[in-house]
């Protein structure tokens, strides 16, 4: 006991935090500069646990930073640059005021600039860290590159963003690492796998801008400044990993023409995404690194097998459009489609007057798919499919070439499903997705078509009497297909256990194994502690409820479909 009485707010959380204004004064920066510094250095405001203590008894809401963070900021060399810039602006203003034009000129030539390289290195100590965090950078860059030159941000920034975006897309094309695409009402979501990292980004549709007023453009511009630097370095390293030339160059077939090709034009060709990139080391195109095989046992073997399977699947997906030749009509989103098609090995071209970089004409006889987004087209070639753009995206998401019939001109399209939804067991799965899953397994398409044909035939034969019947049949078929689906799914799950058919007792063993497992589970449930049991019951109940809801939705859907069916049929007949 004894000693001096402790004073309030002199230790603990009150001293661990610092308010924004105090931090600003400590760094002797203006608020705008402080904010910029925090964004660049990745210092975020913090919500203290005991606000009243931190705020010295006041409960007014304030922005707090950790004092240690601010102390760390004190060492940043960029702070000095900010001050320099401030002084530069002041001098420039003075010179303007005095109409000293030569002085203005000189000052503008010596405008202070700073670099963010060291900050990038500091925030992302390894390359993989940077790749992991590139989502934000990509979204921002693609967004800024679509801005018009309205003075909302610097023109140079827009150009840099565009350049980086084009570089990134070219990398994705060359490495063929695109996985998913989703056309939403907001923009187009892409997902790629780069060096084992899943990267998602969003690109706005072209010409879709109205500048919202409640967004702080200065803050966004600061983020963009950081992200362009990050993306530039990431791009450089990525190009290096593929032995590509950086800054990227279009690979040229005719040697003579290149020398005279303007730099600007080459950049535009690059941006057209139709040509492949030049490599530093001329390499054979189709070199496939085979997975290393190591002798493994038990679980490892299983894992290896699944991994191999995955690898195979991926390779197959990468060559999805190989050998196909696309032609884009002028009303389809050219850049997005060219990007996606080229990512999966397809060849793509467009009208010469539409954009630079078209490789073949519309009249080319070898074109297999012509992508059109208008109800009819006058001149049609007989040896190519005229399809709507959604087909390309759906194929990518489905990882197979879908039947083109549903995507012909003027046909009502099947819904464009989100590839980002991962249905867990017992969730409601839209029937279109089920169909897709079946197609992926390569089993169903024939049956499906047959069904439809049958239906149509039936319809032709008699109109109203058969309707109910056919519906019943449909239902029955649907159920059957659902049941099949379930079975397959179950099979798919247990596929990891390999069964050789030649042996005598495999089934028995399996059964006993299963029984044993069930028994074990039962016992485990019995042995559970009360609270665990409680939790377990709750979880199981939740699952059941989930399944019930899913079933309900499925039933609803069927009811909806049934209700719509007569309409559809009528429409068909009219056609």
């Amino acid at each position: 006991m004894g000693g001096l009485q402790k004073k309030k707010y002199e230790s603990g959380s009150a001293t661990n935090y610092i308010s924004r204004n105090k931090a600003r004064k400590k760094l002797s920066l203006s608020l705008a500069d402080f904010r910029r510094l925090c964004i660049l250095k990745g210092i975020y405001p913090h919500e203290p646990k005991h606000k009243k203590k931190v705020n010295k008894g006041s409960t007014a809401p304030r922005t707090f930073y950790l004092l240690k963070d601010i102390r760390f900021l004190l060492h940043e060399p960029i702070v000095g640059k900010f001050r320099e810039y401030k002084i530069f602006v002041r001098k420039l203003r003075k010179a303007y005021g005095k109409a000293e034009w030569s002085g203005v000129q000189r000052m503008k030539e010596n405008k202070p600039a700073y670099k963010l390289d060291h900050i990038i290195k500091e925030r992302y100590p390894t390359f993989i860290d940077a790749v992991r965090d590139v989502d934000d950078a990509l979204s921002m860059c693609f967004l800024f590159s679509t801005f018009a030159r309205t003075g909302k941000c610097h023109v140079q920034t827009i150009q840099l963003c565009r350049r980086l975006g084009v570089e990134w897309m070219n990398y994705i094309i060359t490495s063929r690492s695109l996985r998913k695409v989703f056309l939403s009402i907001k923009g187009i979501y892409y997902q790629a796998e780069v060096l084992g990292q899943t990267i998602t980004w969003i690109i706005p549709y072209q010409f879709a801008h109205d500048h919202p007023t409640d967004v702080d453009y200065r803050v966004m511009a600061t983020f963009t400044e950081l992200y362009t630097t990050l993306l530039g370095f990431v791009n450089f390293r990525l190009y290096q990993t593929l032995n590509l030339v950086y800054p990227p160059k279009v690979k040229h077939t005719k040697c003579a023409s290149i020398k005279y090709m303007d730099l600007h034009i080459s950049y535009q060709k690059l941006a057209a995404l139709s040509a492949s990139l030049a490599r530093t080391v001329p390499s054979v195109e189709d070199e496939e690194a085979e997975l290393d095989h190591f002798p493994a046992e038990g679980e490892d073997l299983e894992k290896m097998e699944t991994r191999e399977k995955m690898e195979l699947e991926q390779n197959k997906q990468k060559k999805l459009f190989e050998g196909l030749k696309f032609f884009l009509n002028r009303e389809v989103p050219r850049e997005s489609l060219a990007f996606v098609i080229r990512c999966f090995g397809g060849e793509v071209s467009w009208d010469k007057s539409l954009c630079i970089g078209s490789t073949y004409d519309e009249t080319d006889e070898t074109i297999t798919h012509h992508i059109v987004d208008r109800p009819t087209i006058d001149k049609q070639y007989i040896n190519r499919y005229y399809i709507q753009p959604q087909w390309v995206y759906d194929c990518v998401n489905g990882k197979i070439l879908l039947p083109v019939e549903e995507y012909f001109l003027g046909v009502t399209l099947p819904p464009h499903l989100s590839p980002f939804v991962e249905e867990s067991e017992g969730d409601y799965v839209p029937p279109e997705k089920l169909k897709l899953l079946a197609l992926q397994k390569g089993e169903k398409p024939q049956a499906e078509e047959d069904e439809e044909e049958e239906e149509e035939e039936e319809d032709d034969e008699d109109d109203e009497e058969e309707d109910d019947q056919s519906e019943d049949e449909d239902e029955a078929e649907d159920e059957a297909s659902l049941a099949e689906m379930e079975e397959k799914r179950a099979q798919g799950k247990s596929l990891s256990v390999k069964v050789t058919p030649g042996k005598v007792k495999p089934e028995n063993r399996m059964r006993t194994e299963q029984e044993e497992k069930a028994e074990e589970k039962r016992l485990a449930i019995m042995m559970m502690k009360k609270r665990e049991k409680y939790l377990y019951d709750k979880i199981m109940f939740g699952k059941k409820r989930h399944v019930r809801e899913a079933n309900k939705l499925a039933a609803k859907r069927k009811a909806h479909d049934d209700a719509n069916k007569p309409d559809k049929k009528k429409k068909k007949k009219k056609c």
């Binding site: 405001p45 919202p212 389809v332 989100s418 839209p430």
Partner: protein
């Protein structure tokens, strides 16, 4: 002054000196009555000594010098006189030349008037030929010469040499830093392992060549949310019916909640007006017609009661007996309490079952609460925190109604703004604090006045 003095002396030495203006001399010689003054002060000397003659003489000297360039008395006869030998032919030649030259060569009369006609040279302006800091500069130049002899060049010259050398080799010496947003800026391999630093770390630290290590804590993200949140499947441009309905329902619920809150606010803010009833209207109509009965105020009674209430200040003193009695009572109470406790404890032995049940119940409750708290903490990690004056406002869900949905990709009308979406995402991930646009407040009222030109037209 020195010149003047010299002339005085010279003049005095001249025996046959004749002043030009003799008439002045005559005037001055008029006898004046002398005034008596003190001669012990210079002031009075100046005041009362007559120096006019001297001054006149000096003026005369100056005039002579100006006019002729020296004292006439000193001049030789040749300069003063010449022998007139009649007309020469010079005049004719002069006339011819003037005719040839024409009007222009002749100086203007005004210029001639303005020409200095004094024969005395103007004194030299000494200051004009003086160099400021001559000594210092001389020393500097001496030092520079010395250094140059030793082979040390001044900085400016060194730079100049460097620059010229660079220009010769085609390289620029000083690279202007490239702006961050320059579209042609170059990138390099940032993460390549460069040459390891061999210098003394302490030296590097002190000279600020080594940056302070970034604490690991800063590399953690403030939220677990992903950078790009993909829209729900109902947000597809051509959605599945049910997922679209799901999304719509969600948006609808959000809207409902908002509406409810608004309604509640409106209800609370509504002015509670008295509605006119029959009775009140009648009262209003007859007001003043009927004599009101005066209600006698009953306040004074209440007041008196209030004044009476309150603690009485005086308390009677307890007697010894009373004190003892009270003490005994207290001890008794305490004893009884202890006894009761003992009994209770004994009784608890028989309540064991119920006690254990209650303990279990309590434990269960705490566990449940712990679990709940844990779940809440997990959820908190993905929630936007309160980082400033304003709370995070969830943006409106981007939804297209069934009739707004585009029939094809070509006719799709994008919904919402991605820029706003990104901005909100940054706020949601606690990277920046939510803010609102500063409202413009005019300090003074604007004053409108018509321009005169405009008024004239009217």
């Amino acid at each position: 002054m020195a010149a003047v003095r010299r002339h005085k002396r010279v003049a005095a030495a001249q025996p046959g000196f004749l002043p030009i203006k003799s008439s002045l001399d005559g005037n001055s010689s008029v006898i004046k009555r002398r005034k008596r003054v003190n001669k012990n002060k210079k002031k009075s000397w100046n005041r009362f000594s007559d120096i006019q003659d001297v001054e006149e003489f000096l003026d005369d000297v100056r005039l002579q010098e100006r006019a002729t360039g020296g004292l006439i008395a000193e001049k030789t006869d040749d300069t003063l006189f010449f022998v007139d030998t009649g007309e020469t032919e010079e005049k004719d030649t002069q006339a011819q030349t003037t005719v040839k030259k024409g009007k222009h060569s002749k100086p203007l009369r005004i210029d001639l008037i303005l020409q200095p006609d004094s024969h005395i040279q103007a004194p030299k302006n000494v200051l004009a030929f003086q160099q400021p800091n001559a000594k210092k500069q001389r020393r500097i130049s001496e030092r520079a010469a010395k250094l140059a002899a030793m082979g040390v060049l001044p900085r400016r010259e060194k730079l100049l040499q460097l620059r010229s050398a660079a220009a010769a080799s085609g390289l620029s010496v000083k690279e202007h830093p490239v702006a961050n947003n320059n579209p042609d800026r170059a990138f390099y391999d940032l993460w390549s392992a460069g040459t390891p630093e061999t210098a003394d770390p302490y030296y590097l630290e002190q000279t600020k060549k080594k940056l302070v290590k970034r604490p690991d804590r800063l590399n953690e993200k403030p939220s677990v949310l992903p950078a790009v949140e993909v829209i729900a499947p109902g947000g597809s441009y051509n959605p599945d019916f049910f997922s679209h309905q799901d999304l719509l329902r969600e948006a609808h619920e959000v809207e409902l909640k908002k509406q409810k809150a608004e309604e509640k606010l409106a209800r609370q803010l509504a002015v509670n007006e008295d509605k006119a009833t029959e009775e009140s209207t009648f009262k209003e109509q007859v007001e003043g017609l009927i004599e009101e009965e005066e209600i006698e105020p009953q306040e004074p009674e209440g007041d008196t009661e209030d004044t009476v209430m309150g603690p009485t200040a005086t308390q009677e003193k307890k007697t010894e007996k009373q004190r003892k009695k009270e003490k005994a009572q207290r001890i008794k109470d305490l004893q009884r309490k202890v006894e009761r406790q003992v009994i209770d404890k004994q009784q608890q032995l028989f309540q064991l079952r119920s006690i254990s049940a209650s303990v279990k119940k309590q434990e269960q409750r705490t566990e449940m609460r712990q679990a709940q708290r844990k779940v809440q903490q997990e959820a908190q990690k993905s929630m936007p925190r309160r980082l400033g004056r304003l709370k995070f406002q969830t943006p409106d869900l981007d939804v297209q109604l069934s009739d707004e949905l585009a029939s094809s990709l070509r006719s799709l009308k994008p919904e919402g703004s991605i820029l706003k979406d990104r901005f909100k995402s940054l706020q949601k991930r606690n990277i920046i604090e939510p803010r609102e646009r500063a409202r413009f407040n005019r300090k003074y009222k604007l004053k409108y006045s018509e321009k005169r030109a405009f008024r004239e037209i009217e």
